[in-house]
């Protein structure tokens, strides 16, 4: 395709397609206009023309396969009347009055201290980890560490040793300090690339790379007693499995993890935890249990702070409207459009 042809093809596409193409390629500015966007895309495409073209063609293909939905249909095409009624009926949300700032700010403060109660998912996970491998996928700050500590405690009470791995040395050090406080200095050891302390302790904190190396050495005949009594392997931050450079280490560790040891994978919310669990089931001796939930322990509210210091809720609803990114608070929307107009570089057409 020549540049002219490409330009023509781009010009024929609706703006939505161009925006999708621009994702991760160029800084798009939503009010910058189609012309400018095409210019930017063409400029960018000179670096990797083939990749760009193939992406463009897939997008066009996708679009032809699933024609644009009602909302993005051109004004000329009349919407199907009964469908509109249905969407309105199920989506009563936008007709509610938007939340006010005072409501939004209500409830700030420190809750009265309450006795610690296990969440149902924590009970479920702890019960499961006694019997089988467990994958936990819960939002950040839900109390994964509590599960790790309890599971480690129970394994150690059964005279099984425990290995806890984290992706970062800093995290390993923090956890080492934390576990030492809980279980006592002599029960916890640490092995990282440049630190080795108490290497024969029943609970070892290490980086995942170190565990991988231990497992390789064991597989090639170098006996390591620590692996014989190994009862539980806790892999924290397992979403690192998708890290472009280091993800492979997690896979190697899981593949070579001794079959007598239980695996406990702790991960932040990810889109496909069931896949991970199915994978573990397919390669391990016992079927893997998945524990997941997406509800945050502390509810979240989103706000918008304008550069002039004005604060408004971001969404119409008090909480986060799951699955409805367009339910913006009218004031936040208005302020943001104003902001974009103001920061728009001069000489560009304004709509």
């Amino acid at each position: 395709m020549t540049t002219d042809e490409l330009e023509k093809l781009l010009a024929q596409q609706p703006v939505a397609v161009l925006h999708r193409l621009a994702r991760g390629r160029v800084h798009r500015h939503f009010r910058a206009g189609k012309r400018r966007l095409i210019e930017l895309l063409l400029q960018h495409s000179s670096q990797n023309r083939a990749g760009f073209e193939s992406d463009l063609l897939t997008l066009i293909g996708e679009r032809q396969a699933n024609p644009p939905s009602e909302s993005s249909r051109r004004p000329g095409a009349p919407p199907i009347p009964h469908k509109k009624v249905v969407t309105k009926a199920t989506d009563s949300d936008p007709s509610d009055p938007p939340v006010s700032l005072t409501e939004w700010l209500q409830g700030i403060g420190v809750p009265t201290p309450q006795p610690f109660v296990q969440d149902p998912w924590q009970i479920e996970a702890l019960a499961a980890v006694n019997e089988t491998d467990v994958v936990i996928s819960v939002p950040t700050g839900s109390g994964k560490t509590y599960v790790a500590i309890e599971a480690a405690r129970r394994a150690m009470e059964d005279n099984r040793s425990v290995i806890y791995t984290s992706p970062l040395k800093a995290l390993s050090n923090t956890k080492y300090a934390e576990f030492s406080k809980i279980f006592g200095q002599d029960k916890v050891g640490i092995l990282t690339g440049d630190r080795q302390e108490n290497g024969q302790a029943p609970l070892l904190v290490m980086t995942t790379e170190i565990l991988r190396n231990l497992l390789y050495d064991a597989a090639s005949g170098q006996i390591d007693v620590r692996l014989d009594t190994l009862g539980l392997v806790i892999l924290d931050e397992s979403q690192y499995l998708a890290d472009p450079e280091r993800g492979v280490v997690w896979e190697e560790t899981i593949i070579f993890c001794p079959s007598q040891a239980r695996l406990l994978l702790l991960s932040a919310s990810i889109g496909n935890p069931q896949d991970i669990a199915d994978w573990l089931t397919s390669i391990r001796t016992t079927p893997c249990r998945l524990v997941r939930h997406s509800k945050r322990t502390v509810p979240l509210r989103a706000g918008y702070l304008h550069p002039n210091g004005r604060l408004t809720p971001l969404f119409r609803t008090l909480g986060i409207p799951q699955g409805h990114p367009s339910h913006l608070h009218p004031e936040a929307k208005h302020l943001f459009i104003e902001y974009e107009e103001e920061t728009l570089p001069s000489g560009r057409p304004r709509r």
Binding site: T174, I270, D275, G309
Partner: protein
């Protein structure tokens, strides 16, 4: 109006609404530092009680990590209760800030987005100012998972009823990325399985070659490939059922049959060339002058390699293989005899018009020909009709024109052949999905065999036995350097310097004025080797400035940490990370003490030399 809110105003606004403590995520380290500078002239002072609380908490951390005692940021952090926290800082300083945050002494921390993935210290509020982050030189939009990871820091368990994520715009922000990230589902994660050289060596050390495919099949990568293959298999099943009405007809493979027939029918005109001005006796010969035919000239014999027409020549031309492997071009008229002898000669599209193997064989066969060969009797057509093209089938050879299912074939051909092509494509992709990991493994095995780490029977050689212990990036380069004895007799400081340049993968510019001649020549050697290995392994950055910095730190035990930081423009945190990574590389080299005692010893010396000052104090 400024493009984004002033840091002082931001913190004041958060304070006023009781939204502190907050983590403010900014684009870069510089943005964090500039935000701190913005407080320099602001009338923004904490009450004395809180200042003292901060001082007290800092003293506690100092007891463990004395290196922060002199930190230049201490007074300002105490005065305003706000701090910056990013990868440019020393770990001890970051620990101090985290501790202050955990105890609730700070109102806000300016951080880069990388923090979201790392250490966890929650706050009541997170402030998001951007919708994209810098990933290897380029800005990419935050994914839903990343937005939620950032938002996940908001709301402390047991200390807050609610957490807040506040978006404040800056130029180039794309609000929809953030709203979609907040309201959407996190992305599915994909396997990033790669097969590295040490992995191959370690696998082959522990398992026989024939078991490896089964081990690779256990990877999450293969699990996901299988998922994709299953989708394709379902499609294939659908295609199979769609293909049912197009099963065998009069001919079993009627699609191919019709395809050939259709093709011949469409191209009939071009296949029968126009009448040429060639005398009948010459024209009669043409069909026989095919590649591989032995022909006689006035002097000597030859084997036809190809027949062609040339613009400047009246007659068809031949390329002929003559004795002593000579290749000549001549018009067909110069042929005296055509012998009843042909050799197998598959045509190729370029000179010498057959494969080199065939060429050698034909030259050989030409020399071996017996003196007398039977002639080929050629009938000359009496009328001017051209002879049917002997090589190409004519339409009369096809059963199709008279076949009873002709009309059905004609009607269904397009659909059926499209379906069949799709089937072929899917089958091929499924095969590729099932075997791609294994092929990648085999490619690595071949490279390791080439360099002598593996025998042809995929056993580890003596070299492979120790090379498998180097399990870091650029392992091939490091083991090749060791084999080339590049490190023999080198100082601990030189080895540390080289390994530092191998370990450092950050391209932030740094400056270091002097580099020792020994290091510079060794680095040149390493660069050359890295370049020659580039087809097999991505070459490292090999920056001279970081090498010189580490060399200096190891070589000069009197150099203090502050002195080292003054030598370069690199941030403290980066220097620390550089040294820590060098330590990791050195400890890998140290594991070679069985086979390379001298080298392992030097590495051990380098390790002890590096561990001093700030590096000793911290884990």
């Amino acid at each position: 109006m400024p493009p984004s809110i002033h840091p002082v105003d931001l913190i004041s606004a958060l304070r006023q609404k009781h939204l502190t403590p907050a983590i403010v995520f900014l684009t870069s380290r510089r943005a964090c530092d500039e935000a701190m500078e913005a407080f320099d002239h602001a009338n923004f002072v904490l009450p004395t009680v809180r200042q003292e609380a901060i001082a007290k908490a800092l003293e506690q951390v100092m007891a463990q990590h004395p290196s922060i005692a002199e930190h230049p940021m201490i007074p300002i952090v105490q005065r305003i209760g706000v701090a910056a926290h990013h990868a440019g800082h020393l770990p001890s300083w970051k620990i101090a800030i985290e501790e202050l945050m955990r105890q609730g002494h700070l109102d806000a921390v300016f951080a880069t987005t990388t923090l979201a993935a790392g250490v966890d210290f929650p706050a009541r509020t997170v402030v998001i100012t951007q919708s994209s982050i810098r990933k290897s030189r380029d800005f990419t939009d935050l994914t839903a998972g990343e937005v939620q990871q950032i938002a996940g820091r908001a709301g402390r368990r047991g200390k807050d009823h609610v957490g807040f994520a506040v978006i404040t715009p800056s130029p180039y922000i794309d609000l929809s990325v953030l709203t979609k990230g907040l309201t959407g589902q996190p992305e599915a994660i994909d396997s990033q399985f790669t097969i590295s050289y040490p992995m191959v060596l370690n696998l082959l050390k522990a398992h026989p070659h024939e078991h490896i495919q089964g081990i690779l099949a256990k990877s999450f990568a293969q699990f996901q490939l299988n998922q994709r293959a299953e989708v394709l298999e379902q499609k294939l099943d659908v295609l199979h059922s769609k293909m049912e009405p197009f099963g065998p007809r009069v001919c079993t493979d009627w699609i191919t049959q019709w395809h050939t027939f259709d093709h011949a029918r469409r191209h009939r005109h071009t296949r029968h060339p126009t009448y040429r001005a060639e005398p009948p006796e010459i024209a009669a010969r043409l069909p026989f002058l095919t590649p591989g035919r032995v022909v006689g000239f006035n002097r000597g014999r030859g084997i036809v390699l190809r027949q062609y027409r040339s613009k400047g020549q009246r007659n068809s031309m031949l390329t002929v293989l003559r004795p002593e492997s000579a290749v000549t071009e001549c018009p067909v008229t110069s042929i005296r005899e055509i012998y009843d002898r042909t050799y197998d000669c598959p045509e190729t599209s370029a000179y010498p018009w057959c494969s080199t193997d065939t060429f050698d064989r034909l030259s050989h066969q030409l020399e071996e020909l017996p003196l007398r060969l039977p002639l080929l009797p050629i009938l000359v057509a009496t009328d001017g009709e051209p002879l049917p093209d002997a090589i190409v089938q004519s339409l009369e050879d096809f059963p199709c024109p008279t076949c009873p299912s002709r009309s059905a074939c004609h009607k269904d051909f397009l659909t059926a052949s499209r379906l069949r092509q799709e089937q072929h494509r899917h089958t091929k992709s499924i095969q590729a999905l099932r075997t791609s990991l294994w092929h990648r493994f085999q490619e690595r095995v071949e490279v390791l065999q080439k360099f002598g780490y593996l025998t042809l029977t995929t056993q580890l050689t003596a070299e492979g036995e120790w090379a498998r212990l180097i399990r870091i990036d650029h392992s091939l380069l490091i083991t090749e350097l060791i084999r080339a004895e590049a490190f023999t007799g080198a100082d601990p400081s030189l080895i540390a310097g080289i390994l530092a340049s191998l370990a450092h993968d950050d391209d932030r510019p740094g400056a270091f004025p002097r580099i020792s001649p020994g290091l510079s020549s060794l680095l040149g050697q390493v660069r050359k080797l890295a370049e020659s290995l580039s087809p097999y392994e991505d070459p490292p950055l090999l920056r001279a400035d970081v090498a010189a910095l580490v060399e200096r730190w190891v070589a000069d035990p009197t150099l203090t940490w502050i002195g080292l930081c003054k030598l370069t423009t690199m941030a403290e945190g980066d220097i620390y990370r550089l040294l820590a990574r060098t330590l990791e590389y050195l400890s890998q080299v140290q594991t070679l003490n069985a086979t390379h005692p001298g080298l392992a010893d030097t590495a051990a010396q380098a390790i002890t030399a590096i561990r001093r000052g700030v590096l000793e104090e911290l884990p």
